[in-house]
């Protein structure tokens, strides 16, 4: 059995701490268990430590330095620039700031569209799929979920074709007499397009907007909305991820005890009322989860940009994640690239916290009361289940 204790360390990477040394007779059962515990955890600890914790520390240093990608970032020629990289991105006017602000704008619009759309689509599909006497449930669920398990590269290639200028979408649009745009070459923002349609001269935008700039971008540019190219990417991502979230909603829906729904029905609640005052409050934890995961995921969009647009056209699909990669690998601005990564990290953490705060406090009491009422009406079962799903 002592050989058994040693075995995992043998399989561990070569640099694992040498095993077996402390396996003295003094340890007894607890001591041996303690040693085994650390040995069991050692490989994971090593991998996560070396390729997760150490990289973050190292990148933090690089983000404070002027390393250009030559030699080691700890070498002699590398200077400490303090918050220089950060201020170049955030406050100092220049190309770096304009690019970064543009990427923030692009990603913000992307989040603003993707998160609500994918959540509503996922919830809608789950509600329909949850119908009691539905046939072919498995088939539909599989169809909607399948894109989520395929490679982002593969589906991006498919959508490049679907949205190409002579592709599927434009052929369908042509059938109803609409002349589709050349999606991935079109940098026009949809808000600008709408304003243009309303009679605003987009070539000479109102001076109040075009004249003032914040963070290196004019107000007019901030208000552009997602570009046509970005819209194609938004469509792809909503299409891909809705399936996963649909499964989460489906699981939560099936957790709602039938008694609760029935009680509401007996009380004379209509379909919409049942949804609004019974189903939705009970889905609240799942809704929060889906929104949080959506928010975290959308601020990280990288794969689709890398494959489909590389930030083009006109930098309108540039996102912080892609910009971080581009600054580092293509422009050798490693300090800036790392700084972008940390700012992105901060944005994601901050938004998660804000969302948690907002969703926790807002009409929490009212909804809790609704759940309580529903539970009471159901007489049994509802209370504990509601807790479990929380």
């Amino acid at each position: 059995m002592t050989a058994g204790v040693g075995a995992p360390a043998v399989a561990a990477p070569p640099s694992a701490p040498s095993q077996g040394r402390g396996r003295g007779p003094g340890g007894g059962i607890r001591g041996r268990e303690g040693l085994a515990g650390w040995l069991f955890v050692a490989p994971v600890l090593l991998v996560l430590g070396l390729f997760l914790v150490v990289p973050i520390a190292m990148a933090l240093w690089v983000s404070l330095s002027d390393w250009q990608g030559q030699g080691s970032p700890f070498g002699n020629g590398v200077g400490f620039v303090g918050g220089g990289n950060y201020s170049e991105l955030l406050t100092t006017p220049g190309l770096a700031q304009t690019d970064f602000m543009t990427s923030l704008r692009n990603n913000a619009y992307y989040v603003l569209f993707v998160v609500p759309l994918q959540t509503v689509l996922a919830l809608g599909l789950a509600l329909v799929l949850n119908g009691k006497r539905l046939k072919g449930k498995g088939f539909f669920r599989t169809a909607y979920y399948f894109p989520s398990v395929t490679s982002s590269v593969a589906v991006s290639v498919v959508f490049l074709f679907v949205f190409s200028s002579s592709g599927v979408v434009n052929s369908l649009l042509a059938k109803i007499g609409v002349d589709g745009p050349s999606w991935f070459a079109d940098p026009r923002g949809v808000v600008h397009l709408v304003l243009g349609g309303l009679g605003v001269d987009t070539d000479a935008p109102p001076a109040a907007l075009a004249g003032r700039s914040v963070g290196g971008l004019t107000l007019w540019d901030w208000l552009a909305g997602p570009s046509v190219a970005m819209c194609a990417i938004i469509a792809l991502v909503v299409w891909t991820t809705a399936g996963t979230f649909m499964l989460m909603f489906l699981a939560a829906l099936q957790d709602i005890p039938v008694e609760v729904e029935e009680a509401a029905e007996i009380d004379g609640a209509g379909r919409w009322q049942r949804f609004r005052y019974v189903t939705l409050p009970m889905l609240r934890p799942t809704l929060f989860l889906v929104l949080t995961l959506g928010l975290i995921g959308t601020w990280q969009v990288f794969d689709q940009i890398y494959v489909m647009s590389q930030g083009a056209p006109g930098k309108t699909t540039l996102t912080p994640a892609y910009l971080s990669y581009q600054s580092s690998f293509n422009n050798n601005e490693w300090g800036q690239g790392s700084a972008i990564a940390f700012i992105l990290f901060a944005i994601i953490v901050a938004l998660t916290l804000v969302q948690r705060f907002v969703l926790r406090d807002k009409d929490d009491g009212r909804e809790r009361a609704a759940v309580r009422r529903a539970a009471k009406a159901a007489r049994s079962g509802a209370g504990p289940t509601a807790e479990v799903s929380r």
Binding site: G37, L50, L160, S166, L344, V388
Partner: protein
């Protein structure tokens, strides 16, 4: 029997059908209409992809909506076979295989230790695992390159594989599972004098089949579909995996024309292995997918 326990949810598949609402046919028809329309939206792109990869380039541009190639040609696949595609496939396969084996073994070892073995620092370690799961992957893009470069592992198989050999989410899934297994069996083995590894290997692991299958599938799918890590851990063309290779095929121009049959065929072939695994183990996929996401 649920593999992991974030909540006592029944698997979606086996949910008990409650007493149905006696609704009129109208609602049902509307429901089916919605489902069918969306099913088309979800399936049609894949059918188009399949059809287009057997089309000629002219046909693919002229008739993008046609579900039957005219003429049918396998030229795209022939060109892929002559190009570096087999190499990419092999690389993806090797990487996914080693990573999956590593993750399944190391994650379950750590998961077992965190669930069962009592040792000093266990609580802190678990907290660290949770914290690690919260770090957004894309933030690590540049940092990972920096470390691989520093260690001299950049642009090598080891640089591509070793950082993926363990993942916090897998540890979490395994820990949750082991906590759901009754202790009594292990106690019996311990009284018989078996050491921790023996108990883990011959007693606990065989009972963990459902969780192991879930973890295997998630790891395989994850490493097969991985793109960013292979972008920052290598640059040589011969180390291209399918993801980086196909991505370069799309952005870099290989000859003239838009090459849609070729690109779509490349994307189609790389989807096949994951699709096979998906349809064979769908139940585990569905479960793992939601659970994996639940913990973050």
């Amino acid at each position: 029997m649920t593999t992991t326990t974030t909540g006592a949810r029944p698997a979606p598949v086996s949910a008990p059908a409650g007493p149905g609402r006696r609704r009129g046919g109208l609602g049902r028809v509307a429901g089916y209409t919605v489902l069918v329309v969306f099913a088309l939206v979800y399936i049609y792109p894949f059918l188009i992809q399949l059809a287009t990869s057997f089309k000629t380039e002219a046909d693919s541009t002229a008739h993008p909506l046609a579900l039957w190639p005219d003429p049918v040609t396998s030229a795209a696949f022939g060109r892929l076979a002559e190009a570096d595609y087999p190499r990419w496939f092999l690389n993806s396969f090797v990487v996914a295989l080693v990573v999956t084996a590593g993750r399944v073994f190391f994650d379950s070892l750590a998961g077992y230790a965190l669930a069962r073995l009592r040792f000093r620092g266990r609580g802190a370690l678990f907290a660290a695992v949770i914290a690690v799961m919260a770090v957004p992957g894309v933030v690590l893009l540049i940092p990972k390159f920096l470390v691989l470069n520093q260690f001299g592992m950049y642009d090598s198989y080891s640089g591509m594989i070793v950082p993926l050999l363990a993942d916090a989410a897998g540890v979490f899934i395994m820990k949750q599972f082991f906590e759901s297994v009754p202790v009594s069996v292990e106690e019996a083995a311990r009284i018989d004098g078996a050491g921790p590894f023996r108990i883990f290997w011959s007693v606990v692991l065989p009972m963990a089949r459902p969780a192991l299958i879930t973890l295997t599938i998630l790891s395989f799918q994850g490493s097969w579909n991985e793109l960013p890590h292979f972008i920052v851990s290598r640059q040589s063309p011969e180390l291209n995996t399918l993801t980086t290779g196909v991505a370069s095929l799309v952005s870099g121009q290989l000859g003239s024309g838009n090459q849609y049959p070729l690109k779509l065929a490349a994307a189609l072939l790389m989807t096949v292995p994951v699709a096979l695994v998906f349809f064979a183990f769908q139940r585990h996929f569905v479960r793992g997918g939601t659970e994996g996401a639940v913990k973050g």
